[in-house]
């Protein structure tokens, strides 16, 4: 077990290095010059040259990368050219918003997956309808789904807010949902959930349906297996057979699918945040790319990379929790 964790950590560092190097090379080969954008059209050549020297942009590529890595080890990702604040403090402001959104989406997605799988496997009436509707909606691109939801639930019914994380524009950062739960404020919690509802569902639909379809198929396979027949012959109720005996055996393929969907969820979150003006890493990244704010772009990519690597490791761990036969193997 410890060996597996150590291997994982080593891999995580390798992945992050490769990731940082790739993003770094892309930005250095792009034609856009952040310093020119930063000072505007009318800046003097001397001023630009001075700033470029200050930021190290006049040095060789590898020397710049070395500088970048050296600062990275000291927890310094540089200063955002756009917000003129340290990138690290920007990330600290926006990461919680993204984690709350992605976390809620993962929760909603798993719930959806379970509904699809269980109604299918227990052959409940209406299961097929739920499946068809879910598949139709999950086939639409996320941004279209988001826009449609805004038109319907905000513009037409006035049920849900169109965007943002709270009513006030200033309180957009940090752990909005978790803080209001911790404070025990039902009105603020409800407000946070109302804001989360549309973006989380839009983000959750595609992964939820993908996992649900896999889980349903695997559950139907497991229900044909001999040990399930043994349980039926033992007089167990169908409910406890499905929930206690079949489900855990059916989880493995669904967990693998979940691991694949994680990457899609993290790229989807960028799109959804833009559509719903959600102050998170995605929105921050979107604005940074437009202004060629390279330090900010690298910061977001690295943070999302860490989130992805950690959550994939958790997914792998879940496999061995679900199936005891996988334990004790390398």
């Amino acid at each position: 077990m410890r060996r597996a964790v150590v291997t994982r950590l080593a891999w995580m560092i390798v992945v992050l290095f490769v990731l940082s190097f790739v993003v770094f090379s892309i930005q250095r080969t792009l034609p856009s010059d952040p310093v020119r954008i930063f000072f505007g059209r009318n800046a003097s050549k001397e001023l630009i040259a001075q700033k470029q020297h200050e930021l190290g942009y006049d040095r060789s590529f590898f020397s710049q990368y070395g500088l970048f890595v050296n600062r990275l080890f000291h927890g310094d990702l540089g200063t955002s050219l756009r917000t003129r604040r340290p990138v690290v403090s920007d990330l600290m402001d926006f990461l919680p918003g993204t984690l709350e959104l992605a976390g809620s989406a993962a929760f909603v997605g798993l719930l959806l997956a379970l509904v699809i799988a269980l109604t299918g496997a227990l052959r409940r009436k209406g299961g097929a309808i739920v499946r068809v509707i879910a598949i139709v909606f999950s086939s639409a691109p996320t941004f279209l789904l988001g826009l449609g939801a805004v038109l319907l639930f905000y513009r037409h019914f006035h049920w849900l807010p169109a965007g943002g994380r709270t009513k006030s524009a200033t309180e957009g950062n940090g752990w909005v949902l978790l803080r209001s739960i911790a404070k025990g404020s039902p009105s603020k919690t409800w407000e946070a959930i109302r804001h989360l509802a549309m973006p989380a569902v839009a983000l959750a639909l595609a992964p939820g349906v993908a996992i649900g379809r896999i889980l349903r198929g695997s559950l139907l396979d497991v229900l044909e297996q001999e040990h399930i027949r043994t349980m039926r012959a033992g007089g167990l109720t169908e409910r406890s057979i499905v929930l206690r005996h079949a489900l855990r055996n059916a989880l493995l393929p669904a967990i693998s699918m979940g691991g694949l969907q994680l990457g899609l969820l993290l790229s989807g979150v960028v799109v959804v945040e833009v559509v719903f003006a959600w102050p998170g890493l995605g929105l921050y990244l979107n604005q940074a790319i437009r202004l060629a704010d390279f330090p900010a772009v690298i910061g977001v990519v690295l943070v999302l990379g860490v989130v992805f690597v950690i959550s994939s490791a958790v997914v792998d761990l879940l496999q061995t929790v679900a199936d005891p036969r996988l334990r004790g193997r390398a």
């Binding site: 012959a233 033992g234 007089g235 004790g328």
Partner: protein, 671 residues
């Protein structure tokens, strides 16, 4: 409820709607099981015996159209509510299915699994001890995959024994602790166990242990048993009564000893005649003609008529029902036979030919060596601990001449499959050499021909392709394909069929034809008949004999079926924990086994004991992981002495037998 039968089935018919018409699984079956009675339900696959046990459990399924009456413990198992039927399953019945590896939920520890059936701590330990599971407390914490096949089957039986034997009379709320107290104090067992091929997948020694367990449950707890099986010898060792089924109908029933001694239905007689013998001077097996009828197109008359020597026009027109017969004026035995000609059969039993020599005459072996394994060893990384090695095969030497046949027998985990992989070149030995002489790579025939044939090519094409791959022209290939089909006894018109359109026997023939297309000098067979019914397996073995005689091909036959080994092989090698412990000519080995393990293995086979329980070979083989000092069989050997525990016995000649045992002195050596 104590009087009268526990379960009664009257005029039960079950149909399934299928693409090719209605499948008639059962057609008017009557059956009663009394308290403490052991009934064997015998028949080929497709005879309806598994459907019958599903109906008894009230689990016929939504796709079955069921007519008739099934009553268990006073509850209607066909029309009762789902809750009523479930309650009968929970409290009165226990069920054990064929596959011990799949019978337990792999994600649940044994203790938790048993608690699902109301067997909590003390009661669970007690039941596990009842079914002869060692180290009970430790087992409760283990996962199913950590147990051997035999142990898993015993845990499955323990689960089946969780029923308390009485239906709850009132539904007043009970706390879990009440339930616990009651279960511990009651200590009851189910009224009826339904065991569907419970020993088929098990090794001979474990099989004997499970059968004697059933016998003990009946004696100590009056637990009745419906033993669904195709193995007549296993059935005869414990059952009181036998019900023989064919094409969804009962063709004969009566006390099992009587039925086996004097079968009154031609089908029963041919089933008995098709058995592979194990004891010396037994009659040679007579393969049954034809194949079981298509359940979607059953004839209006007796379904067995097309395969029956006694059939007349009357048989083809009327469907015979079971009627009581009297034997020697005694009609009290409850024998019933559904045959118009039962009297003929009883008066003049068909004459059987006796096997003079246990193996029929063979092609003489030539000097051409087709396989030579010289002290091969193979080990793997132990599952769960990469520092240890699992020693699958250790220092085995085997050589085979063209036309010779050798059977390798042993329990699961003895290394026979690894040896097969080494001999066929599918695996490389860690030590030692594998040589096929000038003959090239051997061909393989597997247990499951359905899985070894490519599902989307016709079998004709699969054979032709092998021939074309050898550079033969298309005309020659097609001609040769027809010859091969002829040789393996397949009609040339089935060449166009896909594997799934064939019966199990036809598929195995096609697999053999495909293997022969490469003109191998050695055919390696991995349990080629264990998935087939008794009537078919003799014919496949006869085919292998013929292939040997006609083509001079050598056979290496890997099996756990001792009777099949005896029938097919000149020589038999017995493996135990990765080593050959005894190798002798087949006649000699079965008449006079030398190694204590061979002796135990033969004794444990039900076929060796007409109608009585075989003595069990206690214990299990030690783990193949890590190194062992001394003889691996020492832990189970009745005659073990000190030297066995410290010194590995060598495989030495003792009067024509190769033997690895310290107890028997080698030639010319006096102990």
């Amino acid at each position: 409820m104590t009087d009268g039968p526990i379960a009664s089935i009257r005029n039960l018919s079950v149909e399934f709607a299928a693409k090719r018409g209605t499948i008639q699984a059962l057609r008017g079956v009557d059956l009663e099981i009394a308290r403490g009675e052991i009934v064997a339900l015998v028949g080929e696959s497709g005879s309806g015996k598994s459907v019958l046990s599903s109906c008894l459990l009230g689990m016929a399924g939504p796709r079955a159209a069921v007519k008739g009456e099934v009553v268990v413990g006073g509850v209607d198992m066909l029309n009762g509510t789902a809750a009523q039927r479930r309650s009968v399953r929970k409290h009165l019945l226990g069920a054990v299915f064929q596959d011990p590896l799949g019978a337990l939920n792999p994600t649940m520890r044994v203790g938790r699994l048993l608690s699902e059936r109301g067997l909590y701590r003390e009661r669970a330990e007690q039941v596990l001890r009842d079914v002869a599971v060692p180290d009970v407390a430790q087992r409760l914490r283990q996962w199913p995959h950590q147990l051997s096949g035999g142990l898993r089957q015993r845990v499955a039986i323990a689960f089946a024994l969780g029923a308390d034997g009485r239906l709850p009379t009132n539904n007043s709320a009970r706390t879990p602790t009440d339930h616990l107290d009651e279960a511990v104090s009651a200590g009851n067992t189910p009224l009826l166990l339904i065991a569907d091929e419970p020993t088929t997948a098990l090794d001979v020694s474990v099989q004997a242990q499970v059968l004697s367990l059933f016998d003990r449950l009946r004696r100590e707890h009056s637990c009745a048993l419906l033993l669904v099986t195709h193995d007549l010898a296993a059935a005869a060792s414990v059952a009181d009564r036998v019900v023989v089924m064919y094409a969804g109908r009962v063709c004969e029933t009566g006390p099992i000893a009587e039925v086996m001694a004097r079968p009154a239905h031609p089908y029963t007689a041919s089933l008995l005649a098709a058995r592979l013998p194990l004891t010396p001077a037994s009659p040679a097996p007579v393969p049954m003609r034809g194949s079981p009828p298509n359940p979607a197109a059953l004839p209006s008359g007796c379904a067995f008529a097309p395969r029956c020597d006694l059939a007349t026009d009357a048989c083809r027109q009327t469907l015979p029902s079971p009627v009581p017969v009297s034997i020697g004026g005694d009609s009290s035995s409850g024998r019933q036979v559904a045959c118009l000609h039962s009297a003929t059969l009883l008066v003049a039993p068909s004459t059987v030919t006796h096997l003079t020599s246990p193996t029929p005459s063979r092609a003489t072996a030539t000097d051409e060596t087709v396989l030579s394994l010289v002290s091969v060893s193979k080990s793997f990384v132990a599952p769960g601990n990469r520092k240890l090695r699992l020693h699958a095969v250790t220092d085995v030497s085997v050589s085979l001449q063209a036309g010779q046949s050798l059977a390798v027998v042993g329990e699961s985990g003895c290394g026979k499959t690894t040896l097969l992989r080494l001999a066929s070149g599918l695996a490389q030995p860690d030590d030692g050499t594998v040589n096929w002489g000038t003959s090239g790579r051997p061909q393989l025939v597997f247990q499951d021909a359905g899985a070894s044939l490519t599902p989307w090519f016709s079998i004709g094409r699969q054979v032709t392709e092998r021939l074309r791959a050898r550079g033969l022209g298309s005309n020659v290939s097609n001609q040769r394909t027809r010859e091969l089909f002829d040789l393996v006894g397949l009609d040339s018109h089935v060449a166009q069929a896909l594997p799934r359109q064939l019966s199990g026997g036809q598929r195995q023939r096609a697999a053999i034809a495909r293997a022969l297309a490469s003109e191998p000098r050695l055919l390696i067979c991995d349990e080629p008949i264990s998935a087939l019914d008794a009537s078919l397996s003799v014919r496949i073995l006869d085919l292998l004999h013929e292939v040997r005689r006609e083509l001079g091909v050598a056979l290496l036959f890997v099996t756990h079926d001792l009777a099949a080994a005896r029938y097919i092989a000149d020589d038999v090698a017995v493996m135990y924990l990765g080593r050959v412990v005894e190798r002798a000519p087949s006649i000699k080995l079965f008449a006079n086994p030398q190694h204590p393990y061979t002796v135990g293995l033969l004794a444990a086979s039900p076929a060796a004991h007409a109608g009585t329980l075989a003595p069990t070979l206690e214990g299990e083989p030690p783990s193949p992981i890590g190194q062992h000092l001394g003889c691996a069989f020492a832990s189970r050997c009745p005659g073990v002495h000190d030297r066995c525990r410290t010194e590995q016995p060598m495989l030495l000649q003792r009067g024509g037998t190769e033997l690895a045992c310290h107890l028997i002195p080698p030639d010319g050596d006096l102990l």
